[in-house]
Amino acid sequence: MSGTQVKEKKSVTLGSIWRDKHSRGVILQIIAVIGILLFLGNIVSNTVENLDRLGVKVGFDFLSEPSNYDINQTLIEYSSSDSHFRAGLVGLLNTLLVAVCGIVVATILGFTAGVLRLSNNFVLSRLMQVYVEITRNVPVLLQILLWHGILIHSMPVPKKAEALIEGVILTNRGIYLPQPIPQEGFGWVWIALLVGIVFAVFFKRYANRIQTETGKLIPAIWIGFVAVIGLPLVTYLLMGSPIEVSYPELKGFNYKGGFVIKPEFMALWFALSIYTGAFIAEIVRAGIQSVSHGQTEAAHALGIKPNFTMRLVVIPQALRVIIPPLISQYLNLTKNSSLAIAIGYMDLVATIGGISLNQTGRALESMGIVLGVYLFISIAISAAMNVYNKRVSLVSR
């Protein structure tokens, strides 16, 4: 055979390289990469040169200087003598707070609305349609402003507000609630809670094993639930209720003591959850409808109860369709939280990208930090959700 093999001998010329599909692709890609690098290099060198000409120094040393401004909602200790860095941290935590609260409520709202929209009840399904169509077709910024307007105009000012029940006061400066303050010995309650959770997790695994081995069903979820709630409760009572409650009281201009949820937070939280919930509802509807009806019928034919059919047959398959677009919605909600600035919620953009930027004039650096942090948060959410997506996606056996 070897004698008959004809070795193709090609003369390598520029023309032939260009005509070859593969090498042409490589060449074009190299050119594109070089072009992009040159462009970026030009931007960076231009910026540095221009700032140099104006005598402006670039650097992050301003972060350690005192911020000299106050923030109205702080999850960690903060005062105006703390650094810009800490102010940014306070802002970041506020961003994360509204993002997490928003994601939780949007998910609950979205799943409920998505399932109800498929319900046979005409009124319910139409109602959900109206909700979805109205909220997702109005810009979220307007919804935030609307909620804020409603909250500050419809609620009474603190001096005219009356307690709903003892310690619960609705005012246009926020909802005041009694705040439990842990006393000595409360640490045991936390430990009991931890024990309860660990027990619940192991018990569920044990129950699963029993089920695979014997087919016997143990109500592990309920038992776990009782453990998680009951253990801390019993400990709490045994320790002699180590909690003191601080009630809000009107002192001067405002209520003091207790716990307050500010209208800015509420407006942002409501608007983002309701807006994103509408998108999630549609994603959930699409997910459920993507599961062929044959699956349900097959499950019924096997004698599986309807609610088990939903939980064990339909939803796991629907999740494969739901999760990827759901990740995008979570990312959208987190990024949309930067609209907080419109109503004065002190998030990352308002602190480091707003007041700090203005006081120090370090626009490039501050904006760089804000961009970097949002990028990091988004990639983190995306990575976490991708892990979850892997777990629910089709396993090929």
């Binding site: 931007i43 960076v44 231009n46 910026t47 221009n50 700032l51 000409r53 104006l54 005598g55 402006v56 120094k57 000299n68 401004y69 106050d70 923030i71 109205n72 105006s80 003598s81 910024l141 307007g149 500050i152 105009h153 000012v157 246009n172 400066r173 002192k251 001067g252 201009f253 405002n254 003091k256 209208p263 990024k335 930067s338 609209l339 600035i341 419109a342 109503i343 004065g344 002190m346 953009v349 308002a350 990208g353 707003g354 007041i355 930027l357 203005n358 006081q359 120090t360 004039g361 626009a363 490039l364 904006m367």
Partner: protein, 338 residues
């Protein structure tokens, strides 16, 4: 994200710009002055019913345009939020920033900018509803205070309350319109900003008498025009456009009597300013002889501008106070035209 866009745009502009040697040549070649102003602050920069910008800050833009281009109407106004103003100036999108900007050490020393004088001496004050019965800022312990973010007022407020051992809840607002909304709705008890802006805000309330401005002024806020580093000639032009208006007031030259004063050969100071004798003040700035004549003819002297925009006859009803000439007990003081 709406608020981020201008910053992003100006950052992009900053990266791509190529500052040319002379702002004066640029403006004259373009035939129009680009002036950064407020997004709407009564008395300082706000469009009137006919859509034309007017106010004390606007008059400074017009004065520079009159000096440089001979026509005070050749101005393109660029409304800017407090947040983006410095970036927009640095990037070269505007030639001068005249936007109630407080002259501070940090801004002057670290931003690559120069302040070209003070066209209004201001100070931070507090406004409260009269019904609250508060008569001093010292009584404001525990109050909720509406405050415009991204201004020096935030720093003053934090410092004042800390010094006096009082607490407060800051309620940050982005624009003055939003601040009014929050204040009227009772989201905050107190509205704080520069005293002149408080007067401007109060003037647009339904019932201005229902609100009082407290006597305490807790800071000094010299507001003035700003230009970029690196063009000393342009700095001089802006500085002396303002000083020409002050000197005109001091010499008692107004937009009405300037032709008469310029013709009087026994009045060398007036003739020098108006360019009707042999003095060549304009040429030293790279401008023509009529530079100051044009300013006073078209814009007026400082007093005329002040009274027209923020004075007693206007809705703001501001006294000259600190802004009176040094000869009248104020601190507006222009170097001599020698």
């Amino acid at each position: 994200m709406k608020k981020l866009l201008p910053i992003a745009v100006s950052l992009a502009a900053l990266t791509a710009m190529n500052v040319s040697a002379s702002t004066l040549e640029d403006v004259q070649a373009r035939g129009v002055l680009k002036c950064g102003v407020s997004t709407g602050l009564a008395g300082f920069a706000t469009p009137n019913d006919a859509g034309q910008w007017e106010g004390l800050d606007v008059d400074l833009c017009r004065a520079v345009a009159a000096a440089v281009l001979g026509d005070s109407e050749k101005v393109e106004y660029v409304p800017l939020t407090s947040k983006v103003r410095f970036e927009v100036l640095k990037s070269g999108e505007i030639d001068v920033l005249s936007r109630v900007t407080t002259w501070t050490f940090t801004r002057d020393a670290s931003l690559g900018l120069n302040f070209a004088g003070v066209n209004y001496y201001d100070g931070q004050g507090f406004m409260v509803p009269a019904a609250l019965g508060v008569s001093s800022a010292k009584d404001l312990d525990g109050a909720s205070i509406c405050i415009q973010t991204g201004t020096t007022t935030e720093l003053n407020l934090a410092e004042y309350f800390k010094l006096n051992g009082m607490s407060y809840e800051p309620v940050p607002v982005e624009t003055s319109a939003e601040g009014r909304q929050n204040y009227i709705a009772g989201r905050c008890d107190v509205y704080t900003t520069d005293a002149s802006a408080l007067a401007a805000q109060r003037s647009v309330f339904e019932d201005p008498t229902a609100h009082v401005v407290l006597p305490e002024i807790i800071s000094k806020e010299p507001l003035g025009p700003v230009v970029r580093h690196g063009d000393d000639q342009w700095l001089d032009i802006v500085k002396w456009s303002h000083n020409a208006m002050l000197n005109a007031e001091e010499l008692n030259i107004t937009s009405k009597n300037l032709d008469e004063r310029g013709a009087n050969a026994n009045d060398p100071s007036a003739q020098g300013l108006l360019g009707t004798n042999e003095a060549k003040l304009g040429a030293m700035l790279g401008l023509d002889k009529k530079w100051a004549y044009n300013i006073i003819k078209q814009v007026g002297n400082y007093s005329e501008s002040f009274e027209r925009n923020v004075g007693k006859e206007t809705a703001l009803k501001l006294e000259r106070g600190l802004n009176a000439l040094w000869t009248n007990g104020g601190i507006q003081y222009a170097p001599p035209l020698k």
